[in-house]
């Protein structure tokens, strides 16, 4: 379970997250939608401790992320995150990209890590690209590789930050299908997305972010289908 309690986050004088509370239960898929600059990416990076927070508290499985005593490297093993930019490691092959963390972080043997990586890559449809370098892959393939790389750590949570925004339209579908597959497998997920229809399809709940706050949250049919807040309605209109 991810528990976010009254989190405040600033970059210098600029307060970006202004008191967000949100709980994500095991097996739940929560989508975060909202305008550019509303603090969605920042909140995701706070969840796995990539960014410090100024106030409030985030707990993952009861472990406080921003507690000094928390072993972040260890906590991050169970939180996979996929970013908008594909972030492939350019000097490693597809297989090595996926094997790296299981080997170095989990201490798996080369054979075990390779078997695991091959399985994950086949799962996302990249079984024939194992020896290729990322530069030889399409954007959609690189993004699926990034998903396989995160999944190879057997995370309990997956966070997606606009995983499809940097892709050509014809490649969006393949990545969304991969994410849908994960949701159906029961993965606990937080999706920051601009794909409103997709969010409506796969989410258990949708949160509308505005100005660093959760402005409206609820089942997708309510928040997307019949929003209460005028800001939510205006945002949905603008992205359609």
């Amino acid at each position: 379970m991810i528990e976010i309690e009254n989190v405040h986050k600033s970059f210098g004088d600029l307060e970006v997250v202004k008191g967000v509370s949100l709980t994500v239960d095991k097996g739940e898929v929560v989508s975060i939608i909202g305008g550019s600059g509303s603090g969605k990416s920042t909140l995701l990076m706070c969840i796995n401790g990539l960014e410090p927070i100024q106030k409030g508290c985030i707990r993952v499985d009861g472990i406080e992320v921003h507690d000094r005593a928390t072993d972040l490297n260890r906590l991050r093993q169970k939180i996979g995150i996929v970013f908008q930019q594909w972030n492939a490691f350019p000097h490693l092959t597809v297989l090595e990209n996926v094997m790296l963390a299981p080997r170095k972080v989990l201490g798996k043997s080369r054979q075990d890590a390779e078997a695991l990586a091959v399985k994950q890559l086949e799962h996302v449809g990249l079984g024939d690209k194992l020896k290729a370098f990322p530069s030889k892959l399409s954007g959609g393939q690189q993004q699926r590789m990034a998903i396989a790389r995160a999944l190879a750590m057997s995370p309990d949570y997956m966070l997606f930050d606009e995983a499809t925004s940097a892709l050509d339209p014809q490649l969006v579908g393949e990545v969304l299908d991969t994410m849908r597959m994960l949701a159906e497998d029961g993965m606990t997920m937080v999706l920051v997305t601009h794909e409103i229809r997709f969010a409506r399809d796969v989410s258990d709940r949708v949160a509308f972010f505005c100005n660093g706050r959760v402005h409206e949250i609820g089942p997708p049919d309510q928040v997307i289908g019949n929003p209460v807040q005028p800001e939510t309605a205006a945002f949905l209109k603008s992205v359609k």
């Binding site: 930019q85 972030n87 490691f89 350019p90 170095k104 972080v105």
Partner: protein, 216 residues
């Protein structure tokens, strides 16, 4: 009819000079690379704390090498250091190379996108693992061409050590020119030797780069 008083012995003398040039290059590049790597990492990873280092290295990058040779050589005598001229040459050239290489390394490390490092840290890699398995390999590919240029540059700059009394390739050729009075021929040969040495380095480097480029 072409005739010359250049003897086989003269040629051997030139090659001996070339050997000194090569040794100077190797030692100073070794020193410069190790120190530059350390300093460059400090500059990239702890920019605030290492600011004084940057000022110091700026001095070595800005003052002409010849002045540095002469100054360090006199300093050596004043302080009473027991160093050979060859050691002085290596140290001055090494520090000079380090000053340049520091910037090259810094540029290479900073060329690794923050988002790539975030991705590796979010997989659970520690700061050190991220450096070792992600940042350094990528930075190496970025920095390598600059490093290669530095090697070629330093090889030519070694010629300046003749001012502190070391007989390397250029000095050897001048000695011969003074004696046989055939500057064109002798300097052409010396130039050719420099060219061949540089060519070998450049070719080896190009081969390594090509291997990397096939990947990315």
């Amino acid at each position: 009819m072409f005739s010359t008083s250049l003897s086989v012995n003269d040629l051997l003398y030139l090659l001996e000079g070339a050997w000194v040039t090569l040794q100077l290059t190797v030692w100073s590049i070794l020193l410069g690379t190790l120190a530059g790597l350390l300093f460059g990492l400090l500059r990239a990873l702890l920019p605030r704390a290492s600011l004084p280092l940057a000022w110091l290295l700026d001095v070595f990058r800005s003052v002409p090498l010849l002045i540095q040779f002469v100054l360090f050589n006199s300093l050596k005598s004043i302080v009473g250091l027991n160093l050979s001229a060859f050691a002085v040459g290596c140290i001055v050239l090494g520090v000079y190379a380090a000053a340049y290489f520091t910037e090259i390394v810094r540029g290479g490390v900073l060329a690794v996108p923050l988002s790539t490092r975030r991705a590796s840290r979010s997989l659970g890699l520690s700061y050190g693992q991220d450096l070792r398995f992600i940042v350094l390999p990528i930075a190496t590919r970025v920095a390598f061409p600059g490093w290669l240029n530095l090697v070629l540059g330093v090889m030519k700059d070694t010629a300046l050590v003749m001012w502190i009394g070391i007989v390397e390739l250029l000095r050897a050729s001048q000695t011969i020119v003074t004696r046989i009075q055939e500057p064109l021929l002798v300097l052409c040969i010396a130039g050719l030797i420099y060219y061949v040495m540089s060519l070998v380095v450049a070719r080896l480097g190009a081969r390594l780069e090509r291997r990397w480029q096939e990947n990315d």
